[in-house]
Symmetry: C2
Subunit: 119 residues, 2 copies
């Protein structure tokens, strides 16, 4: 519902949330098939924001290399809710069919965190 | 001690290790100062391999954007050992002085993981 969804945001890491919270690390190698990928990524970004307990996510991709997306959720129930969204499951299926060569997912409970910023 | 440390490795995600294990997510924005950065990164990569309980790590950086490095350790003791390495502490200090604009660290315990690869 933002008027600014297409405005470039300053690049910032997610903050250190107050533990405990949960983390999902998704590391992938892409295929060369880009069709529909960006649109689906934007749609998933908007959809996940509707999940109660979603805290934020961040992504990086080395050109021609690995991509890493890290998502943060307040609890296991929030992850379960996100996994059960039909449109998300459809995107995962399409990802395996078209966009990903390989991926690994690690799900964990964050016990501590901290941030640092230049003065 | 490898003869192949400079050979390009195929790009692969770290595997889903057998839980429980620990994860350290380091998300950063770099300065424009590259001096000494690559050499230190290589040195740290070699040093961390000597830590008992180190499992692996993976990195991605969007050009001009976020960098994410995710490291995996068998237990909290392995993370503590790595944090206490003097040369690592020196690199962290230099990072704050020169290479990083901002970063966040999240430390967690992985409870489950899985991988997928195209046939």
């Amino acid at each position: 519902m933002s008027d600014h969804r297409d405005a470039p945001a300053p690049v910032r890491p997610q903050p250190p949330f107050e533990p405990p919270y949960h983390v999902v690390v998704f590391t992938s190698v892409r295929t060369e098939d880009d069709e529909g990928y960006a649109e689906t990524a934007v749609r998933m970004r908007d959809l996940v924001k509707e999940i109660p307990g979603y805290l934020g996510h961040e992504s990086a991709r080395t050109p021609g290399g690995l991509g890493i997306t890290v998502s943060y959720f307040r609890d296991a129930e929030a992850i379960k809710a996100w996994r059960s969204v039909g449109e998300h499951r459809g995107a995962q299926k399409q990802g395996r069919a078209e966009w990903y060569e390989e991926y690994t997912v690690h799900v964990g409970e964050v016990v501590r965190s901290h941030g640092w910023k230049r003065d």
